[in-house]
């Protein structure tokens, strides 16, 4: 062995594993196969549905009848108006809930006093289903848009506040120390270490929050709504109009899925630095 060992440059095997990072971005053979299987599953589901309808299950409309009704509702503009009304509520509620949850979660994680003061309320309200708040919301807030948005906001807030709080609490202490020894004060440490380090938790919380907001929607639209997918389903129920109920269910499912995927993409993009196991 020589007395000096070259250290400059990368030791063998130290480079990034080729392909692994790329595989996440571009669809490869495995993900194409997955997509194919997903499509097959949907086709089978539709076939079973059609079969059940044809076999004469009491009152069950087939996929074609539902598609027909869906087309009618699109043509008359009802579906679009309902969807717009519902999405508006979900978005406003989700946005308010998340915007509120992030600072409150940070407060709880960063200051022990804030945590002691806020946590009992969060834990308590978390055990109450948003549906159960509705009677109270009607009495206090009337029957306009406010109580609906309030209930959705509450649902989104409660789901993401816990996650944000967890994120702040679980920030690696060594990272905070590393920032401090480089000369960072409390403010800088918070902004440049705690916030990015807890962002994966926050984004997961937002996804859960969006799910809860969407799930609370139908319940919120029970409150004397004039429009909305949930309202349309309520109306259809009165007239025993099963196809419209199905159109509503499918619309809620598809929109929820699309929103979740969009947030998932955002999450992937923002937390690309994470080591995934």
């Amino acid at each position: 062995m020589t007395s000096t060992i070259p250290v400059r440059g990368a030791p063998p095997g130290a480079t990034a594993p080729p392909g692994r990072s790329r595989a996440g971005r571009r669809p490869n053979r495995t993900s194409l196969r997955m997509l194919g299987l997903n499509a097959v599953a949907v086709a089978i589901g539709l076939a079973v549905w059609a079969g059940l309808a044809r076999a004469g299950v009491e009152g069950l409309p087939g996929p074609l009848a539902v598609a027909d009704r869906g087309w009618d509702l699109i043509e008359s503009g009802t579906l679009l108006e309902d969807t717009a009304a519902s999405l508006r509520r979900v978005f406003i509620g989700f946005l308010l809930g998340s915007l509120l949850a992030v600072p409150v979660g940070f407060l709880m994680g960063w200051y022990v006093t804030a945590r002691g003061l806020i946590e009992p309320y969060v834990q308590f309200f978390r055990t109450i289903p948003p549906l159960a708040i509705i009677p109270l919301a009607i009495v206090l807030l009337g029957i306009g848009e406010t109580p609906k948005i309030f209930v959705i906001t509450l649902a989104a807030f409660l789901s993401s506040v816990i996650s944000t709080f967890q994120g702040v609490v679980s920030v690696d202490k060594t990272l905070i120390n590393a920032a401090r020894v480089l000369g960072a004060g409390d403010g800088v440490t918070f902004r440049r270490v705690v916030v990015p380090a807890s962002s994966p938790f926050i984004l997961v919380g937002m996804r859960i929050g969006l799910g809860s907001a969407w799930a609370t929607l139908v319940a919120a639209e029970l409150i004397a709504a004039q429009q909305g997918v949930g309202y349309r389903m309520q109306q259809a129920q009165l007239y025993y109009d099963l196809p419209t109920i199905f159109v509503g269910l499918i619309t809620i499912g598809v929109l929820g899925l699309i929103m979740d995927r969009i947030l998932l993409l955002v999450e992937r993009r923002l937390t690309r630095w994470q080591e995934r196991r």
């Binding site: 062995m1 020589t2 007395s3 000096t4 060992i5 250290v7 400059r8 440059g9 990368a10 030791p11 095997g13 130290a14 480079t15 990034a16 594993p17 990072s21 690696d172 060594t174 990272l175 120390n177 590393a178 920032a179 401090r180 020894v181 480089l182 000369g183 960072a184 800088v188 440049r192 270490v193 990015p196 380090a197 962002s199 690309r272 630095w273 994470q274 080591e275």
Partner: protein, 261 residues
């Protein structure tokens, strides 16, 4: 020689399971300017606590730590710390990690920041990885990035807490040589914690052997080998002799502790 770091009757107690645990018990230690001092000892002997007190991350419960004659109250950029777990910011590239400390200093322009970061990135051999995220780096490269980050703010003291502990034997030897090269070029004061006796002797001007329960200094062993050190020193009889002395001090004390329990 002037004293750079001075521990004076420094103690630190923690509350463990409701009882006071004395991690460091009245330690007196002076580290001279531009000296390399390594600290060895069994786990739980308080060597990391000692270093953290010098860093200002842990406050002494008795006595005081002085740096340049001033009592340490909090961390400061003149005392660079290199952690065993690298502690790189995973959301920042190598370059942004190295620039982190510089962005907190007033009067350092963007261009100057770039230039200084690049200098240290080159120095630790990460030129081709400047824009890579930490997750794509090997353990040795991460530690080199952490060293570049600490160097970039130009600290007069480097406090290193088992920095090479997680590396394989060959990488560790490379890192030791690189550390000594950088030290002889820039002449900083280094306090280096390790549990590797060979490493302690190879790097140090003096080796501090600590004992546990309570954490205290057992023996200070001078290493009278000239710098720059090379592989030849590592194989010399003098090295072996000092190494055995250090090993003996650490080992004996471990035996005594076994007998005590």
């Amino acid at each position: 020689m002037t004293t750079k770091i001075s521990f004076q009757q420094t103690s630190c107690a923690f509350l463990v399971n409701g009882a006071d645990f004395l991690a460091v018990d009245r330690v007196d230690l002076d580290i001279a300017d531009r000296e390399v001092v390594t600290v060895v000892g069994p786990s739980g002997c308080g060597k990391s606590t000692l270093l953290n007190m010098a860093a200002g991350l842990v406050n002494p419960t008795g006595g005081q730590v002085y740096v340049d004659g001033v009592p340490v109250r909090e961390p400061g950029p003149e005392r660079g710390v290199i952690f065993q777990q690298y502690a790189l910011f995973p959301w920042l590239t190598v370059r942004s990690n190295v620039e982190f400390g510089l962005t907190l200093q007033r009067g350092v322009s963007r261009a100057e920041r770039r230039r200084r970061a690049q200098h240290f990135i080159d120095l630790v051999g990460l030129t081709d990885f400047a824009d890579a995220l930490p997750k794509t780096l090997s353990g040795g490269m991460r530690q080199r990035c952490a060293i570049a980050r600490a160097y970039a703010v130009n600290p007069s003291i480097l406090l290193m807490d088992e920095p090479f502990g997680a590396l394989d034997a060959l990488t560790r030897v490379q890192m030791q040589d690189q550390l000594l090269r950088a030290w002889s070029a820039e002449q900083r004061t280094i306090m280096f914690i390790t549990h590797d006796v060979d490493e302690a002797v190879y790097l140090a001007n003096r080796v501090v052997v600590m004992a546990a329960r309570p954490g205290r200094i057992k023996e200070i062993i001078p290493v009278e080998l000239p710098y720059p050190r090379t592989e030849a020193h590592r194989l010399s009889p003098e090295f072996t002799e000092i190494r055995n002395r250090v090993w003996h001090a650490v080992y004996h004390q471990a035996l005594e502790e076994d007998r005590a329990t």
